[in-house]
Amino acid sequence: MFKFEEICELIRLVGSTGVSKVEIEHAGSRLHVEGAAHVVVTPGAVAQAGAGAPPPAAPAPAHGAPPPAAAEDDGLHAVVSPIVGTFYRAPNPDADPYVKVGDFVERGQVLCIVEAMKLMNEIECDVRGTVMKVMPENAQPVEYGAPLFMIRPA
């Protein structure tokens, strides 16, 4: 069907012209674009194009928290903050961090602390794999749903 760039161009057009919806089906492929708030591209159309990748996630708001469901990147799994609070990598200022990039972590292993209302909430890993990235800085405030660690599942 189309090349990825062409689909992007179509989407841009939908957005800028105020068109509310575009659907294209061709030889088993189908492209569907809705204007204004929702831009939805069904993967089929793009995947066939070969070079295509899905459109990137919505940009991160002020505190770095995309919606939990969207917190995935290249097959990585995001461990997100279940509460609002302050992120700490270690149990106390003098201690070593719970985990570092490259560490292999087990499901249920403590990864960090999010402090809220003077309570130290230990955040456990919900997947088994390798820590690829630590998202917030130490002592940085985090929102509900903010990604804390990116893990490559084993």
Binding site: A37, H63, I83, G85, A116, M117, Y144
Partner: protein, 447 residues
């Protein structure tokens, strides 16, 4: 004055509070649920914090999340708006314990007025008229039957911890009361975790008339006149206006005095509302006091020119109310509020969805308080109130015709609203003549 206020609410009232803060030069923090990223309050505030999932129990009702958000943003005060945590005395206490200011009354006043039977007793001691009924919570159904026999039927059972019609039962005779007692007890237990009931004489066709109060730390308590709120459906107000078509200067002065006395009885501070029932003979009775800013506060703002939310912020910061006495409040004209709900006009079921087209009315004497914008998706998780359309005219007639034209100019597509029902109410002869009581909507909807 505060340097940064966190707003523990969403939608139109959060936008309203942001406006007041901005006018006082105060920075704002909006908290929002995961469903409210695109809600206008989150778009307009200086800072935002996502505090939990769409369900309000995990977000807007989650005290710990709200307080953490205040902590990480360095807010020095919290405005609760209405609903959610606004009348939660424990929340107000926690805010104070954390060294922040709660923009509202002291926790004790919230607690006292939250217990309806205690409130009744307390204001009665200050010679505020109350309906004949129980002098505190009822001990048993036998006590209820005895009392009802003395004051005469019909009577109404209400939950001490009540609100919104739950735990409330009407009885026209002994057998109804006998049955109603257990039902109401169980309902109150389930709804509020407190089954205690009290009993009052039931007025058959009262008006709901409430007075706006401002009280400061210096001990000054003034009222800013009344709002007529009789147009209700299932205890949900739909249209409010000021002045009430039923009040003359004398009755207004008398009721205003009683409202001030009720506020003093609660050692009240900040903005509050004293609700009365008014019968056809001009007798009035204390119903309850709402210890928060009301949805319908703009009605009073339009006729008095006083910004009630800015007064709330000033009072909470320890400043006196900006009008030294009642005589400095000079109401002018007539104001009416129409609550625009996202709901099916026939079934009254909520109508969430994406607003595809929007025209808000403007021009003379029109005020809109809303968080709607074209492209916004009304989530299904919260209250269906999406806009308050207010009109102000030189007299009631001008307010009515202005209401009609403003509603006609309002265009909302993508969701259903009750705007057309308001138009029909405006055409109702009784409404036009000001002949309204709390049963007006029942009659209107069955006509």
């Amino acid at each position: 004055m505060f340097s940064k206020v966190l707003i523990a609410n969403r939608g139109e009232i959060a936008v309203r509070i942001i406006a007041a803060c901005r006018e006082l030069g105060i920075a704002t923090v909006a908290v929002h649920s995961a469903a409210d990223r695109e809600c206008l309050h989150a778009r307009l505030a200086d800072e935002t914090v996502c505090i939990g999932p769409a369900e309000s129990t995990g977000s807007y009702l989650n005290i710990s999340s709200v307080m953490s958000a205040a902590q990480i943003t360095g807010a020095d005060a919290i405005h609760p708006g209405y609903g959610f945590l606004a009348e939660n005395a424990r929340f107000a206490e926690i805010v104070h314990e954390c060294g922040l200011t709660f923009i509202g009354p002291p926790p004790e006043a919230i607690r006292l007025m939250g217990n309806k039977s205690q409130a009744r007793r307390s204001v009665a001691a200050s010679e505020v008229p109350i309906l004949p009924g129980s002098d505190g919570p009822l001990g048993s159904s036998a006590e209820a039957l005895e009392l009802a026999a003395a004051i005469g039927y019909p009577v109404i059972l209400k939950a001490s911890a009540g609100g919104g019609g739950r735990g409330m039962r009407l009885a026209w005779d002994e057998s109804e009361l006998q049955r109603a007692y257990d039902t109401a007890w169980n309902e109150a237990e389930r709804a509020f975790g407190d089954p205690t009931l009290y009993l009052e004489k039931y007025l058959e066709s009262p008006r709901h008339v409430e007075f706006q109060i401002l009280a400061d730390r210096q001990g000054r308590v003034i009222h800013l006149g009344e709002r007529e709120c009789s147009v209700q459906r299932r205890h949900q107000k739909l249209i409010e206006e000021s002045p009430s078509p039923a009040l003359g200067p004398e009755l207004r002065a008398e009721m205003g005095k009683a409202a001030v006395a009720a506020a003093r009885a609660a050692r009240y501070e900040n903005a509050g509302t004293v609700e009365f029932l008014l019968d056809r003979e001009g007798r009035f009775y204390f119903m309850e006091m709402n210890t928060r800013i009301q949805v319908e506060h703009p009605v009073t703002e339009l006729v008095t020119g006083v910004d009630l939310v800015k007064e709330q912020l000033r009072i909470a910061a320890g400043k006196p109310v900006s009008m030294a006495k009642r005589t400095q409040v000079r109401p002018h004209g007539h104001a009416i509020e129409f609550r625009i709900n996202a709901e099916d006009p026939r079934t009254f079921a909520p109508s969430p969805g994406r607003v595809s087209h929007l025209v808000m009315p403007g021009g003379p004497g029109v005020r809109v308080d809303s968080h709607l914008y074209a492209g916004y998706t009304v989530p299904p998780n919260y209250d269906s109130l999406v806009a308050k359309l207010l009109v102000h005219g030189r007299d009631r007639h001008e307010a009515l015709v202005r209401g009609r034209r403003a509603l006609a100019m309002l265009r909302v597509e993508g969701i259903s609203t009750n705007a057309e029902m308001h138009q029909r109410i405006l055409e109702d002869e009784d409404f036009q003549a000001g002949r309204i009581d709390t049963h007006f909507m029942e009659r209107f909807l069955t006509a």
